[in-house]
Every structure is written in structure tokens, then in C-alpha cells.
């Protein structure tokens, strides 16, 4: 009994105090699927960035080869070739650069807009809050794909258009979460203390309150990358997103529908990449949520 007690107390005594991020990292590692997904994601990102320098030639991805139109997967072309004889693996790697970049940048646009509007609404309250929240309601009522299609048509389909369009149609949930966090955090003593010291509103909002509201924003940011990739690929599949010859995982499937009778591999592999990438992102987001949720103790 005494032995156990003493070992327990020494353990407590010698345990270093942990910061919140260290605790979060420990919790994250315990989510095994989340860790595996993050590793796979890292591999996909590495492959997409380094692939062209490493084993894929630009020719294979962009130059049509009339001798090998729609050839099935083989030793030369691991994932087969498409309707003009380009290597599908090479196009998946080049297309991945585009799709992942669009996902990341659209997430940045969405998170910036969401954090900005949400913090303004939550911090100032009153008429600012009502106006911003009504605007949020309006944006939540319009089906996103419809507006993205309209914007792509009118502004001309391009990478910039699709990034901005997806970004501006995905900030609403972030804004709501940030607003509700600001509503409760602004009543806390540290905000009062800052105000007594004469700290300006902008600095209180983004220097003092925002760091305390980061955890859900990080989770939302991760999940937004996934949904942004799904949206980009869907719009590109409809022919209104990323324009050929630039490949994206979505526009590679644009012509696939006519080919599924004769060359199903053209349709299978790019979509599988979208699916696995989004799946990994969602598992990672789930692990982050578990890791950053302060209610969960370890």
C-alpha cells in the first residue's frame, strides 16, 4: 500500500506540466485512424508536389498520343491512358496539384471571411450582429452549387473564380461558431482587464479573444478543405470549374461518362483519389476535434 502510494506521488511529482498544445498532440496520436489518415494525406501531398520532379514527365500528362488512346492499365501506364492517349497517373498527379491548391486557398478565403464576420458580430453585438447574422441566414438559404455555377459563367471559369466562389459560399458555419464563442468569451475577466488597460477593440478581438477560439476554427478549417475539394471537383466535372488542358481531379471525369462503356478506368481512378483524399481529411478533422475539445480530459 505504502509502496503504491509513494510511486503514485513520485509520478505526480515528476510529471512535467503540459501546455494545451502538447495535450492536444497526445490526444491526437491516440486517434489511430486520424494518425494513419494524416500520414496517407502527407504521402498524397508529397507525391503531388514531388511527383513531376521524381518520376512523371510533363509530356505524359499533357501530350496526346494517338497510338495509345484509351489503353487499359499496363506496366507502362499503371492507371491506363485517357481518350487522347495521356497517362492517367501523370494527370492525377498534376491534377492533384490543382485540386489540393484550390481546396486550401478556398479554405483560407472561407475561414478569413468567417472569422472576420463572426468576430465582428459576436464582439460588437447589436445592429452589427443583426445585420451580419441576417446576411448569414440569406447565404445559408441559397444552394451553393447554383451560385457557384452562376459566378463561374459570368466571371468566366478560371481557378481564381472557383477559389473565390467556393470561399465566399462556405464561411457561414465558421462565422456562426466564431460568433457564439465571442459572445461568451467577451464577458470573461481577461477581456475586462484588457479593456481597463485601454487596449483597442481590434487588438482585444484578434489578439486576446481569437486565440481562445482557435480550436473549433482549426477543426472547421480542416473539414472545409475536404468540402472545398468536393465542390471544386463537382463544378469542374460540370465543365464550369478548372478548364482543360489544365487537369483537375474533377475535369478528368468530365468526358469519362461517355467512356464508361469502353474505358471505365478513365472514370475510376481520378474519382478514387478525390474520395480517399477527402476521407483522410475528414478523419484528420475528426481526430483534431477529439484532440482540441477541452471537455475531453486525458
Amino acid at each position: 500500500m505504502t509502496v503504491m502510494e509513494s510511486s503514485l506521488s513520485t509520478e505526480i511529482m515528476y510529471r512535467k506540466p503540459q501546455g494545451p498544445w502538447q495535450l492536444a498532440a497526445r490526444r491526437f496520436v491516440r486517434h489511430r485512424i486520424g494518425v494513419v489518415s494524416s500520414l496517407i494525406l502527407l504521402f498524397i501531398v508529397g507525391l503531388v508536389i514531388l511527383g513531376p520532379a521524381w518520376f512523371i514527365s510533363e509530356d505524359a500528362a499533357f501530350r496526346p498520343d494517338p497510338m495509345r488512346i484509351n489503353s487499359p492499365p499496363s506496366a507502362d501506364h499503371w492507371l491506363g491512358t485517357d481518350e487522347v492517349g495521356r497517362d492517367i497517373l501523370a494527370r492525377i498527379i498534376y491534377g492533384g496539384r490543382v485540386s489540393l491548391l484550390v481546396g486550401l486557398l478556398a479554405m483560407l478565403v472561407a475561414i478569413t471571411a468567417g472569422v472576420l464576420l463572426g468576430s465582428l458580430a459576436g464582439y460588437f453585438g447589436g445592429i452589427v450582429d443583426s445585420l451580419i447574422m441576417r446576411f448569414t441566414d440569406v447565404m445559408l438559404s441559397i444552394p451553393g452549387i447554383f451560385l457557384i455555377i452562376a459566378l463561374s459563367v459570368f466571371m468566366g471559369p478560371s481557378m481564381r473564380t472557383i477559389i473565390l466562389a467556393i470561399g465566399f459560399l462556405n464561411w457561414m458555419s465558421v462565422a456562426r461558431v466564431v460568433r457564439s464563442l465571442f459572445l461568451s468569451l467577451k464577458e470573461q475577466d481577461f477581456v475586462l482587464a484588457a479593456r481597463c488597460l485601454g487596449v483597442k477593440d481590434g487588438r482585444i478581438m484578434w489578439g486576446h479573444i481569437l486565440p481562445n477560439a482557435m480550436a473549433p476554427v482549426v477543426v472547421a478549417a480542416t473539414l472545409t478543405v475536404g468540402s472545398a475539394i468536393l465542390t471544386e471537383t463537382a463544378v469542374s466535372y460540370l465543365g464550369l470549374g478548372i478548364q482543360p488542358p489544365t487537369p483537375s481531379w474533377g475535369n478528368m471525369l468530365k468526358n469519362a461518362q461517355d467512356l464508361i462503356w469502353t474505358a471505365p478506368w478513365v472514370a475510376i481512378f481520378p474519382g478514387a483519389m478525390i474520395f480517399f483524399t477527402t476521407l483522410c481529411i475528414n478523419f484528420m478533422g475528426d481526430a483534431l476535434r477529439d484532440a482540441l475539445d477541452p471537455r475531453m480530459q486525458l
Partner: protein
């Protein structure tokens, strides 16, 4: 109660106006509505100027908005630039087909997600529960158009090759032969499955977690202590309370359902409103685009209103807050 309904009604008016503003400025102001005519070689510059004047495009944008709004309120949504048909009439011809698809998929979604969600909540941490959780992650990571293509490859292409009974890959009825109810069902199976997948994944997870939360509460323990049968406890006591937050999620998801329907209609060549939207978007036919966005968003606002009112009837706590 009446006061609550009136309050909710009054809130939705500015939201509807806001929707029309956003739609108008995004659709009309970001593009050139005359683009269809300018590309027509038979029209001279004077003709185009005359048309611009006739449509009111020479006026400032906010004046155009009020002109447009005044007409839209009384049901004059303009004519398509492409077919010169009345926009409302065109929408009415296609809306039904979209609602058939959405309604079927909604019914499938409810049945499957209720069954899966209830099962995995009552069998927490069982292998089946893990399987359901995995399935729901798969479901909402799935690009719906690709899922549709895969289903076509398997059930339309491969099944036909293997000599099995196969399903049609496109349309609502066969091109030849009489349209029949049986044919409609056959054509509905694949698109309705695709449209249901994401919602099934989502609602299953929500129902599971909200059931688990309710089951942990005191009044369920009381019901068990009274000796009620497990079935009565689950369905009459727990389910009723667990399903309320789920209803909110379902209502908030209606816009996504319309977005999903657009993509699904495109994959399966389903002659619905989403497909019409896409066809006319390519031609920059903005009266049709405006009309569809406005109609869909208004439906969404109305559904939210109905949902809020019905919760207030079901759950008295909501009215107070």
C-alpha cells in the same frame, strides 16, 4: 404561439429580400446580360442598344433591381433569352421531376438512417456500430458524381455484360415505348441512391449521437426503473426527444439537397430543374437562372419557417428562448 409565428414570419421577409438582392447582384451585375445578343451577327449595334433600352439595362443597377422586384412580386419572372418562354412556366414544367427525385431520396434517407442510427446507438461499440460509423465517414467523403458513375459502371454496364437484369443509366423513361410507373421506378433507383448517400451518412451519425445523449439521461433511467419494456423506452421516450435536433439538421440541409439534385440530374440526365439550370447557365440565360435561384431559396426559407413553427408546437421550451 400566434405571436411567435408572426415574429418568425416577419423575420423571413428581410431574408427573402436579402436573397433576391444577393441573387440579383451576383447574377445580373457580375455578367453582361446582353452577351447572348452581342454574339449574334445579325444584330447591329443600334439593335442591341434598342434591346438594352427595352430590357432596361441602360439604367443603373439599383433601378433595374427595383423594376425587376416589382415584376417578380406579381409573378412576372420574365422570359428566357434562349427559348422566349415564360420563366415561371418553364420552371413549373421541370420542378415536378426534381421533386420526384428529391422526395424519393428523402424517403430512402429517412428509412435507412433511422434504422442504422437507432441500431448503432443501442449497440454502441459493437462491430456493427463501428461499421456504421465507417460507412458514414465514407458517405460524406464521397464525390456524388463519381459515386453515380461507379453505380452506372456496375449496374448498367457490367450487369448488362454479365447478362444480369440491369438498370437504365439515364433519363426518366425509355426513349421508345410508353412511359409507365414501373419504368419510372427503374429509372429512379440509381439517381435516388446517389442523392441519398450523403444525407444517410450524415443523419445516421446525428441520430446515433443524439440518441446516446438522450439514453444517458435520468428520465430514461426512471422509465427503466418503472419496468417499462425496452422497446417502449427506446421508441416512445428516447426517440421522440432524440429526433428533434435531427429535424433541425434536416431542414438546414435542404439547400444542399437541391445542390445535390443538380449534380445527380446531370450525371443521370434526369430532366429536372437542376439540369435546366445548368443548360441555361452555359448560355448565360439570366432570367432563368434568377428564377430558379429565387424559387429554390424561397422554398428553403418556407421549409425553415414551417420547421420552426412545428418545433414550437412540439417543444414548448423553444418558444420561450
Amino acid at each position: 404561439m400566434t405571436r411567435y409565428i408572426i415574429k418568425r414570419l416577419l423575420i423571413s421577409i428581410p431574408v427573402l429580400l436579402g436573397i433576391s438582392l444577393v441573387a440579383f447582384f451576383l447574377v445580373q451585375a457580375s455578367g453582361d446580360p446582353m452577351a447572348v445578343y452581342i454574339s449574334n451577327p445579325n444584330l447591329s449595334a443600334e439593335d442591341i442598344a434598342r434591346l438594352e433600352k427595352a430590357y432596361g439595362f441602360d439604367k443603373p443597377v439599383y433601378v433595374q433591381y427595383f423594376y425587376w422586384l416589382r415584376k417578380a412580386i406579381v409573378g412576372d419572372w420574365g422570359q428566357s433569352f434562349l427559348t422566349h418562354q415564360d420563366v415561371l412556366l418553364m420552371i413549373r414544367q421541370r420542378l415536378g421531376n426534381t421533386l420526384i427525385l428529391m422526395g424519393t431520396s428523402f424517403a430512402i434517407t429517412l428509412i435507412i438512417s433511422l434504422a442504422l442510427g437507432m441500431y448503432s446507438a443501442t449497440h454502441q461499440y459493437s462491430p456493427a456500430d463501428y461499421l456504421v460509423t465507417a460507412f458514414s465517414f465514407f458517405g460524406y467523403s464521397m464525390p456524388s458524381f463519381w459515386f453515380g458513375l461507379m453505380l452506372i459502371i456496375i449496374f448498367a454496364v457490367k450487369f448488362r455484360e454479365w447478362g444480369l437484369p440491369y438498370l437504365p443509366a439515364a433519363g426518366m423513361y425509355p426513349i421508345r415505348g410508353e412511359p409507365s410507373f414501373f419504368q419510372l421506378i427503374r429509372h429512379l433507383i440509381l439517381p435516388a441512391t446517389v442523392l441519398s448517400l450523403i444525407s444517410v451518412a450524415k443523419y445516421t451519425r446525428y441520430l446515433r449521437s443524439s440518441m446516446l445523449e438522450v439514453i444517458g439521461q435520468d428520465y430514461i433511467r426512471t422509465a427503466r426503473a418503472k419496468g417499462l419494456s425496452e422497446r417502449v423506452i427506446l421508441w416512445r421516450h428516447a426517440f421522440k426527444n432524440a429526433v428533434i435536433p435531427l429535424l433541425t439538421i434536416i431542414m438546414l440541409d435542404i439547400p444542399q439537397l437541391f445542390s445535390g439534385a443538380l449534380i445527380t440530374e446531370q450525371v443521370f440526365a434526369w430532366p429536372g430543374m437542376g439540369r435546366m439550370y445548368w443548360e441555361h447557365a452555359v448560355w448565360i440565360d439570366y432570367p432563368v437562372l434568377m428564377g430558379i435561384i429565387l424559387l429554390v431559396s424561397t422554398l428553403v426559407v418556407l421549409c425553415n419557417l414551417l420547421a420552426d413553427i412545428s418545433y414550437a408546437i412540439v417543444d414548448p421550451r423553444i418558444r420561450l428562448s
